[in-house]
């Protein structure tokens, strides 16, 4: 009898010890390949510290980001951690997809460094659901060589709309006299509403306008917006420093033009730096803030926030990973080598950025970054894309476009 009891106790103990030794596996989704390195580093660190936490990373292509998340949420199998494009956060926060991490976040040593504008995107009613951990900023790059050729100071990019036109005209050249312009001063940023948000809105902001007010209502219907729209249209049709085809140019088409020397001033971002250094090794280029008019310099603060989903069963372990992901070790070790922008301005002075002067500029641009907050980000793409493009093509006047666009956005927000 006692023998059997002993066996029973042993078996039960073994069974329970199995549970106690159970590994905590966190599933993380991200679209950035560099996150792999952070995950590797973290897993090794956990091993070294004897903790049984492991992170499994699934790389999700950018266009799958939203649909996959929706599908997983409705099936109840969302990942523990998600590094998603920040503009999507307001919507997902509103449907309760993310865990409230307010108290924990505020205790983090680096919390005060994080860019306010981007932090707010991950918040609702003063509660925090995500932290900015990968940044994309819209900016203007210029070809210093072409500036010199045009007799302009290669170290002075245009800072105002007026200067943009003035310099642009000198930089739009028919080099071989065949009546065809071989080099354009500027290109509009086309290819969809996403481009307009990222590169055109800073012109609106730089003119003192806004898309949404603090309550989330549309604030687009203003003279500042009309002026900005008209300005872009004028760049093509009046001042002729940008070709009309650039209204359809995607980021890649402008990049091609810039790399092949057909474009002097390029609306791009930090994500172009690595490729530029590779594809145009002989080009001297600079990173500048987008020219402003009557407002302040502005840039679109894009990138990703990292959040813990509400369906995660391992919130504490997930927090541990998050804290690590923001550490100097992770950010500088994983993001900086591939010239990704790290989330903490204090880390910009690192060994990888030091050698590339263009990277340092981004620390300043980070300070002026803005991001529109709305739960219907994807839905407003439709009217924004349509009406703005109409103006740039010269097919609609700016006032009508702004009015109609505002009406449609209001309709969408009301649904």
């Amino acid at each position: 009898m006692s023998r059997r009891l002993l066996v029973l106790i042993l078996v039960v103990t073994l069974a329970f010890s199995g549970i106690l030794m159970a590994k905590t596996t966190l599933v993380m989704w991200d679209q950035l390949a560099a996150t792999e390195d952070i995950v590797k580093m973290f897993n090794e660190k956990m091993k070294a510290e004897g903790k049984d936490i492991e992170v499994k990373l699934e790389l999700i292509p950018y266009d799958q980001m939203v649909p996959k998340f929706m599908a997983a949420l409705s099936a109840g199998i969302a990942p523990d951690l998600y590094g998603m494009d920040l503009v999507q956060f307001p919507f997902f926060i509103s449907i309760g997809a993310f865990t409230d991490i307010t108290e924990w976040a505020k205790e983090l040593p680096f919390f005060d460094e994080l860019t306010k504008g981007m932090l707010e995107i991950g918040m609702k009613d003063d509660r925090i659901y995500g932290l900015p951990y990968q940044i994309d900023l819209s900016t203007m790059l210029w070809n210093k060589g072409l500036f010199e050729e045009a007799g302009l100071d290669p170290e002075q990019p245009p800072q105002t709309w007026y200067e943009l036109v003035e310099m642009g005209q000198k930089l739009t050249v028919d080099k071989d006299g065949d009546g065809i312009i071989d080099q354009w001063g500027f290109n509009l940023a086309g290819g969809g509403a996403g481009a307009y948000m990222f590169w055109f809105m800073p012109f609106v902001w730089g003119n003192g306008g806004r898309m949404f007010d603090d309550e989330g209502n549309v604030a687009l219907d203003s003279y500042e917006t009309v002026q900005a729209l008209q300005f872009w249209a004028d760049l093509v049709h009046k001042h002729k420093i940008a070709p009309v085809s650039s209204v359809q140019y995607g980021s890649g088409d402008r990049y091609n033009a810039f790399v092949s020397g057909k474009l002097a001033m390029f609306l791009g971002g930090n994500f172009n730096i690595t490729s530029l250094l590779q594809d145009a090794p002989d080009m001297e280029f600079g990173v500048a803030m987008i020219p402003k008019n009557r407002g302040e310099f502005a840039s679109f603060g894009g990138g990703s926030l990292l959040g813990i989903t509400s369906q995660s069963k391992n919130v504490e372990a997930a927090k541990e990973f998050m804290e690590f992901a923001f550490s100097e070790e992770a950010q500088v070790g994983a993001f900086a080598p591939s010239l990704q922008l790290v989330a903490r301005p204090s880390l910009y002075d690192n060994e990888y950025y030091k050698d590339i002067p263009q990277m340092m500029r981004f620390a300043d641009i980070l300070g002026i970054a803005q991001t529109p907050y709305t739960v219907k980000y994807n839905e407003i793409y439709d009217p924004v894309g349509y009406y703005f493009e109409s103006v740039f093509l010269g097919q609609m006047d700016a006032e009508t476009a702004v009015r109609e666009c505002t009406k449609e956005i209001e309709k969408i927000l009301a649904e």
């Binding site: 649909p67 409705s74 070709p243 085809s245 209204v247 359809q248 349509y386 093509l393 097919q395």
Partner: protein, 291 residues
């Protein structure tokens, strides 16, 4: 077991896998799409019956009519581009010989490649800054400035249609050749005895006799045009200003980007209705063949 019964039994067994496949992947979705069109679906689960409201929504939706219009206009533009060369080439290559076989193959090859590949290949040709079309036309002094071929509404419709014509006329040509080969040579002999000229023969004898084949090919081609997706999705993304957005692109957008399942189903059902109408005509045209 009786021979006949056994035969029938095996007949059924052999067809069983087919029946199962069709039931699951065709009949069921067909019924489901109609059902879903009468419902409204929420993202995190749940649906409600809303009767005809999705259809009403479609009828007042600007974009729905726009995409329908775009698709029809495109079909009108591309069809003659396909048929005129196809019929002329078919007539030139109707006799089977070594050389005609080679020519037929050459003209058919674009049909074998994907619309994705063809779209990129031609988009590159049409590129405004580095494209070879602009280069050739400027070198020949036919145009003075590089043209943005895919950036203007009517021009992009025509240019995309040119690509589609290049890609599909080989198929139509083959069908017409088969039709031409079905015309008895004695008719031509009789015509030449009567002293008819080549072009007269073509207009008054060949074409009328070819009518059933042409009608069939036409309806196949129209159905294909209405299903246009890949090429506009890649070459123009529906632009500029949604003037080249086709109805299948719209269904794709509603269903897979906006997740409006109910509305998307309604538009799908309407689209299906249009295609069935075209196919019904196809069946009727098939009646011609049974002369």
């Amino acid at each position: 077991m009786k021979q006949k019964t056994r035969k029938g039994l095996f007949g059924f067994i052999f067809l069983l896998p087919v029946i199962v496949m069709i039931s699951i992947f065709f009949i069921y979705p067909l019924i489901k799409v109609v059902l879903m069109s009468f419902q409204e679906w929420k993202i995190m689960g749940g649906s409600s019956f809303v009767g005809l409201s999705n259809y009403k929504k479609a009828l007042v939706d600007d974009e729905f009519w726009k995409t329908l219009w775009n698709t029809v206009i495109y079909a009108i533009i591309v069809t003659p581009m396909i048929f005129v060369p196809a019929v002329l080439l078919a007539n030139a290559l109707k006799k089977t010989s070594r050389s005609t076989k080679i020519f037929r193959t050459i003209f058919f090859i674009p049909y074998a490649i994907s619309f994705v590949a063809a779209s990129y290949i031609w988009q590159w040709i049409y590129n405004d800054s580095y494209g070879i079309l602009n280069y050739i036309l400027i070198s020949l002094n036919l145009i003075g400035q590089p043209i943005n071929w895919l950036g203007q509404t009517w021009l992009s419709r025509v240019m995309v249609s040119i690509m589609v014509a290049w890609k599909t006329l080989g198929f139509t040509m083959i069908i017409v050749i088969a039709g031409l080969q079905g015309i008895s040579p004695q008719i031509y002999e009789a015509a030449s005895i009567d002293g008819a000229e080549k072009s007269q023969v073509f207009r008054y004898i060949t074409l009328p006799l070819l009518r059933p084949t042409l009608v069939l090919a036409l309806i196949l081609s129209l159905a294909g045009s209405f299903k246009a997706f890949d090429h506009f999705y890649i070459m123009t993304k529906g632009g500029p200003l949604k003037t080249t957005e086709t109805i299948v692109m719209y269904i794709n957008k509603i269903g897979f980007e906006f997740y409006d399942i109910g509305f998307g189903s309604a538009v799908s059902v309407i689209f299906l209705g249009i295609l069935l109408l075209i196919s019904y005509l196809q069946l009727k045209a098939g009646g011609f063949q049974n002369e």
